[in-house]
């Protein structure tokens, strides 16, 4: 099974493979990440944003995949994601980057968000969107983090969904 991640930095192919990923996409360069407020999207773009209506509307476009930039336990948004039958990528960087009470609160919000995903049968997958190497995780760590935060189903499947959703063939 192949694992993928999206980060905000460029990584060498050998380094990505050492971490256990088949590929780490660079957001903005290898993957078009656009604000969910735009009216028109490039083919296979990924829309990001916290505004529920905008993200849900973006997901209705045929070739657009959605990223949630932080934990957002909104039943309405998750229900719309479940209806679109697409995968929602959730940025788990807050759980890694923050410390103390802010970190505990972020973890609580992630768990709540993923609890709603499980109940609504919406598909979700974790990504790091790391700004620097310090905030990258290996595939093994991201799988463990996914299980800890409550991503549904098999955690390996959650990670491998990215490449398939974006159109990379096995």
């Amino acid at each position: 099974m192949r694992f993928y991640d999206i980060a905000n930095l460029r990584t060498e192919s050998s380094f990505s493979k050492r971490l256990g990923f088949y590929r780490i996409y660079q957001a903005g360069i290898e993957i078009d990440v656009q604000d969910a407020g735009k009216q028109q999207y490039k083919k296979k773009a990924i829309a990001t944003g916290s505004a529920e209506n905008l993200l849900a509307r973006a997901l209705k476009e045929r070739n657009v995949i959605g990223i949630l930039p932080k934990a957002q336990p909104s039943k309405r948004l998750i229900a719309m994601v479940a209806d679109s039958n697409k995968v929602l990528f959730i940025n788990v960087n807050d759980a890694i980057r923050q410390e103390g009470k802010a970190q505990l609160k972020s973890i609580y919000l992630y768990r709540k968000t993923l609890q709603y995903c499980r109940k609504s049968k919406a598909k979700a997958s974790p990504i790091t969107l790391a700004e620097s190497e310090e905030y990258l995780l290996s595939a093994r760590q991201l799988m463990t983090m996914a299980k800890f935060l409550g991503f549904s189903g098999d955690e390996k499947e959650a990670l491998s969904i990215l490449g398939v959703a974006y159109g990379e063939k096995d």
């Binding site: 050492r18 971490l19 256990g20 890694i96 980057r97 970190q103 620097s132 190497e133 310090e134 905030y135 990258l136 995780l137 290996s138 093994r140 760590q141 463990t144 983090m145 299980k147 800890f148």
Partner: protein, 104 residues
Amino acid sequence: MAKRIKNRYLLAQTSVPIDMSLIENQKSLEEKMLKALGTATYSYTMPKIIPASQNEFILRVHRNTEEHAILALSFIKEISGKRLGIYTIKTSGTIKSLREKLIK
């Protein structure tokens, strides 16, 4: 009759070179792990650091506690005042198989 303690070994790589053979670095990492895991889980995990190379070290933990150790390493972003990321590359029941995975 006392049961033999069974261990698991994790191969970890750091984003910047850090000498894990230095006692101060080992103590700093142990303190961070204690903070991340809490007293009870830390005692059960019984982590021990085995230096390997400039960028890598092996962490020995009690069996069935690998996930706790992997999570703790994910949360640690600083050792002895140096900002870094720690990546868990592989887990194994023996050190020998991890030594084969070290960067040459």
